[in-house]
Symmetry: C2
Subunit: 280 residues, 2 copies
């Protein structure tokens, strides 16, 4: 394992329904990021398909399996460049069901598939929710977990890969833009920071850009350190075209969970009380 890990988020503008275009721009971005030294490259949620489907049939029609053309192309890039890729795709589960998925790919191919467990809005009419906790994969660049977008709004869910040892959580996201006070950082980014801090785990969230069927996006890609402070980003470029952020991470910091002489972010959890209070 190298002492430091260079992580990139490629904030791109997929077009819903144009799978060939989306594959092409994702491969360009991967090669560009790798040229700049990136070892772990995160792409947006549903990079392969775009996001704003008309309905379930639309998504099913665009879906691919983990052995389909797009994930295979990403595997080829990971092999050629000796990198890790975490990217979102619309996964065909069987003849009728689709999942909002992310693949973790390294030089040897697909190492894990994660299926979004917390579905946002109309996704509930389209996707089958995942029922498995986020995988944590030992890569040669560090222990990497993954989850997708709205999953990040459930701190209980973020705890799971953190407790399983993830040093870096890679999160493909599509954050729809919503009003916020002038000069405030988007609350989506704030939640990423808090999730990182309470777990002492690095998080790389890769958002998208490019208005799609009248939906705009935060465009807030960010790479946050184990203290919860941004190392790169947050970008704030809604509809202003693609962008990339890059940061060099000392992932071993995430192995040190002590935050004072007597405190440890995980050991100090009083799970007995959380449980008993919930049962009451």
């Amino acid at each position: 394992m190298t002492p430091h890990t260079v992580v990139a988020c490629c904030q791109l503008a997929p077009r819903v329904g144009d799978v060939a275009h989306n594959r092409e721009i994702s491969l360009q971005a991967i090669h560009n990021a790798a040229r700049q030294g990136a070892q772990v490259i995160v792409l947006p949620e549903l990079m392969q398909s775009g996001y704003v489907f008309t309905d379930h049939a639309h998504a099913l029609n665009l879906a691919e399996t983990a052995t389909g053309a797009t994930v295979s192309a990403w595997c080829e890039a990971a092999r050629a460049l000796d990198i890790v890729i975490v990217a979102g795709f619309c996964e065909r589960l069987d003849s009728t069901r689709v999942s909002n998925s992310a693949a973790l790919i390294d030089v040897n191919g697909v190492q894990a598939i994660y299926r979004k467990a917390h579905l946002w809005d109309q996704e509930k009419h389209i996707f089958t929710p995942g029922n498995e906790p986020p995988p944590v994969v030992q890569t040669r660049f560090g222990l990497i977990g993954m989850m997708i977008c709205f999953d990040l709004e459930f701190p209980e869910w973020v705890r799971l890969p953190a407790l399983a040892g993830a040093e870096l959580l890679c999160a493909p996201v599509n954050w729809p833009a919503s009003p916020r006070p002038v000069s405030e950082r988007p609350c989506e980014v704030v939640r990423v920071q808090a999730n990182a801090a309470v777990n002492r785990m690095f998080i790389a969230a890769c958002d998208r850009t490019g208005t799609e069927r009248n939906v705009d996006w935060v465009g807030g890609s960010v790479i946050v350190d184990a203290d919860g402070y941004p190392l790169a980003g947050p970008l704030e470029t809604p509809s202003n075209g693609p962008a990339m952020i890059l940061a060099t991470l000392d992932l071993k910091q995430a192995r040190h969970k002590r935050i004072s002489a007597l405190n440890h972010v995980h050991a100090d959890r009083r799970t007995d009380l959380y449980d008993s209070a919930r049962r009451a």
Copy 2:
């Protein structure tokens, strides 16, 4: 219940060991805040005693019960002004044990005592940790929960009063200052924002100021709305003397947990998965 609730955080500078002084400045601040319209007034953690004890005996010597002089004086103020006060004090539990506690007081006296469950650093050598979840009290200004400082770093703990219906969480804190990147908002404040947003619950965190035995403080008092954005503060006045923030809250916003046509911040939790993953 009034349609809106005016909340104040009085960021004061207690002196460790000077209980009479601390009581006096707290009463002055309460009366001042009430004159400006505050209906709910939050004071810092350990307002009554100060924070940086030399040892357990020091804290035990300063401790009072919930019928002691300081809490009684706060009860008198709450009765005279018809307000709610949430304030921290060093509570004597018995002849040998002390708790880092907060009292919620209204016109009728003490309505609840909360005892800090997650102890910070040397507090572990001084205080007996609480074993009860944060109380949620129906006041005439709204449903109010409370917790103390480091408790806020455990999102599982913040869930409990939120699930119990709290519209406003009042948090006396003493945030020790620590280095952070220039121009970044303190991560303590960021965590408060995230806790509010993922629960759609208002949070008022009242920090302290005034260097005490070489410990300085963030001085980051903040009142955050149910979307996670500050309505007042964050103050950033370490050692710059006392200050007050005031905000008018529409607490009924916290009763609406829907964040899209199909999403609800609490109902969307997949507790079965959190549990099974933890047992695994």
